[in-house]
């Protein structure tokens, strides 16, 4: 799962949707496609969650460390 890249998964998902829209699948193929779609979608969502958590962590960390001091300096410079 870790090896499957998000973009690839998204592209696969889209291809799947398009294929289903073309409507030439059997029910079984449709089901399999859906199953795969759900898997891909979950994978993508997990990836996004991970990404978001990572980003939020980074943002929180970087806010604690760097962004807060800036206004202070601004204030200092103006005084």
């Amino acid at each position: 799962m870790a090896k499957e890249k998000f973009e690839e998964a998204m592209a696969k998902l889209e291809a799947l949707v398009r294929k289903m829209e073309a409507g030439e699948m059997t029910l079984e193929e449709s089901l399999k496609a859906f199953e795969e779609g759900v898997r891909l979608s979950r994978l993508c969502a997990n990836r996004l969650d991970e990404a978001e958590r990572r980003v939020e962590l980074l943002v929180r960390e970087s806010q604690q460390l760097t962004v807060q001091p800036f206004p202070e300096h601004g204030g200092k410079d103006e005084s």
Binding site: F6, M10, L13, E14, L16, V17, M20, E21, M25, L27, S30, L31, A33, F34, G37, V38, S41, C44, A45, L48, A51, E52, V55, E56, V59, T66, V67, F70, H73, D77
Partner: protein, 454 residues
């Protein structure tokens, strides 16, 4: 004295004694006169006659053994002697015994009188210039902020006072070392040279000021002295010369690293203005701090801009989420659609199946069976009817033909027993025989009593 009393002298002894006497008596003397009969033989020594209006004396200046013109060698004139030049000479008296003559052996000569002095000044200037002593490239920079200033001048008088007060005014913490010299007179040049040596020996002097107030060319002679010029040029400490007034240039001025028009000016040149320096320094400090802070501020701003521009991928993620959801929903609705389409198809097919199923046939076949059954029943009943009818006819006919019909009219039929033969002749019976009589209704049995034959 002892020798004089011992008797007769030889000429040699006499000349020697005269020589001893004169040389002791005139060991060092100064004499002034006019140069004449100047000769310079191939030996390089100078021979001339020194004379005044009334008298004359022979003189010689030996070429220095080293050939150099270092000022420590007293024998050298610092200028070219010329016929008729008035000079002040230093030397001693020597007796030339072989001839019984005496002459001056000079180790130095100075020009006397304006003409001579001027001449000597120009000669010296040209010579030293040619030697490169005044070369601007040789000139040492004057330190900007000396700790200790050496002043070579007269310890009395306005010159040193001016220098000290100006130095103090401009830079209160500067130290001044004064090397007292005479600034005019025959010994002045030597004192000045010594003062230079002392200053170097003393050490710690950052700049030297050689100063004197203005004066006549003669007064300034020490400052046009070759030895002074050379010691200035040789000084390892930068030298500022401040002799006379603005228009007067001495050889010392040319040799010095910097020439000040007046002693006060020299002090100003040697000592910077502390207030000015402080101002400059604090200006630099301010600019430094400002530049440092500005750099920081610039970098902070730059960083802040970059940080601002550093795109948070959350927006990207949100976009992805939307399209992911969209796809997921499309997928779900597609699969639901697919299933529900089939769900619509299937009941229809099921309905068709049921309609086309065997129930139709069953329903349509049932009446057929009923009809056939009815026909079957009808057929058998008709058969029975017909059969009964046919039978009834025969039965009726039979009945009508029944021989027993006469019995209703009272006849009876007699039958033998047990054979039941109809009795037509009485003789077939014997008395005692039982017989049967059939009447219209019923039969009865009887016994023959008697036979009545016919």
């Amino acid at each position: 004295m002892k020798e004089m009393t011992t008797g007769i002298l030889t000429v040699s002894e006499l000349n020697k004694q005269i020589g001893d006497l004169l040389e002791i008596r005139f060991d060092l003397l100064w004499v002034e006169g006019e140069v004449s009969n100047l000769r310079r033989p191939s030996s390089g020594h100078l021979y001339f006659t020194l004379k005044d209006e009334k008298s004359q004396i022979r003189a010689v200046i030996f070429k220095s053994p080293s050939g150099s013109k270092a000022f420590r060698n007293n024998r050298l004139p610092l200028f070219e002697l010329e016929e008729g030049m008035r000079i002040l000479c230093r030397g001693r008296l020597a007796v030339y015994a072989p001839r019984g003559e005496y002459q001056l052996i000079l180790d130095s000569a100075e020009p006397r009188g304006t003409g001579a002095l001027q001449r000597a000044y120009e000669q010296l200037k040209l010579r030293l210039q040619a030697e490169g002593l005044f070369d601007p490239l040789r000139k040492k920079p004057i330190p900007y902020l000396p700790r200790k200033i050496g002043v070579i001048t007269s310890p009395t008088g306005a010159v040193i006072r001016d220098i000290i007060s100006i130095a103090k005014r401009r830079f209160s913490s500067v130290s001044v070392v004064v090397s007292p010299v005479r600034v005019q007179g025959a010994s002045a040049a030597g004192e000045i040279v010594q003062a230079f040596q002392d200053m170097h020996a003393f050490g710690g002097i950052d700049v030297l000021i050689l100063a004197r107030g203005g004066g006549s060319l003669e007064d300034l002679a020490p400052f046009n002295d070759e030895r002074v010029a050379r010691i200035i040029a040789a000084s390892t400490i930068p030298v500022i010369s401040a002799v006379g007034h603005e228009t007067d240039y001495t050889i010392a001025d040319f040799a010095a690293d910097l020439r000040a028009p007046t002693p006060s000016a020299a002090a100003e040149l040697a000592v910077p203005d502390r207030a000015e320096l402080k101002l400059r320094l604090s200006g630099l400090q301010t600019r430094l701090a400002k530049a440092g802070r500005r750099k920081l501020l610039q970098d902070q701003e730059r960083l802040y801009l970059h940080q601002e521009r550093l795109k948070n991928p959350q927006r990207l993620i949100a976009g992805f989420r939307l399209s992911l959801d969209d796809r997921g929903e499309r997928l779900l609705s597609l699969v639901k659609e697919r299933i529900s389409r089939e769900k619509q198809n299937l009941p229809l097919l099921s309905l068709h199946l049921r309609q086309a199923g065997p129930l139709g046939m069953v329903r349509s076949s049932r009446p057929e069976i009923d009809i056939l059954e009815n026909r079957l029943n009808a057929a058998i009943r008709r058969f029975f009817q017909q059969s009964r009818k046919a039978w009834a006819l025969q039965a009726t006919l039979l009945e009508s033909l029944s021989p027993l019909a006469v019995l209703s009219r009272g006849y009876g039929i007699v039958r033998t027993l047990p054979h039941g033969r109809i009795v037509r002749n009485a003789d077939v019976l014997s008395p005692g025989d039982s017989f049967e009589v059939q009447v219209f209704r019923g039969r009865f049995r009887a016994v023959v009593e008697r036979i009545f034959p016919e």
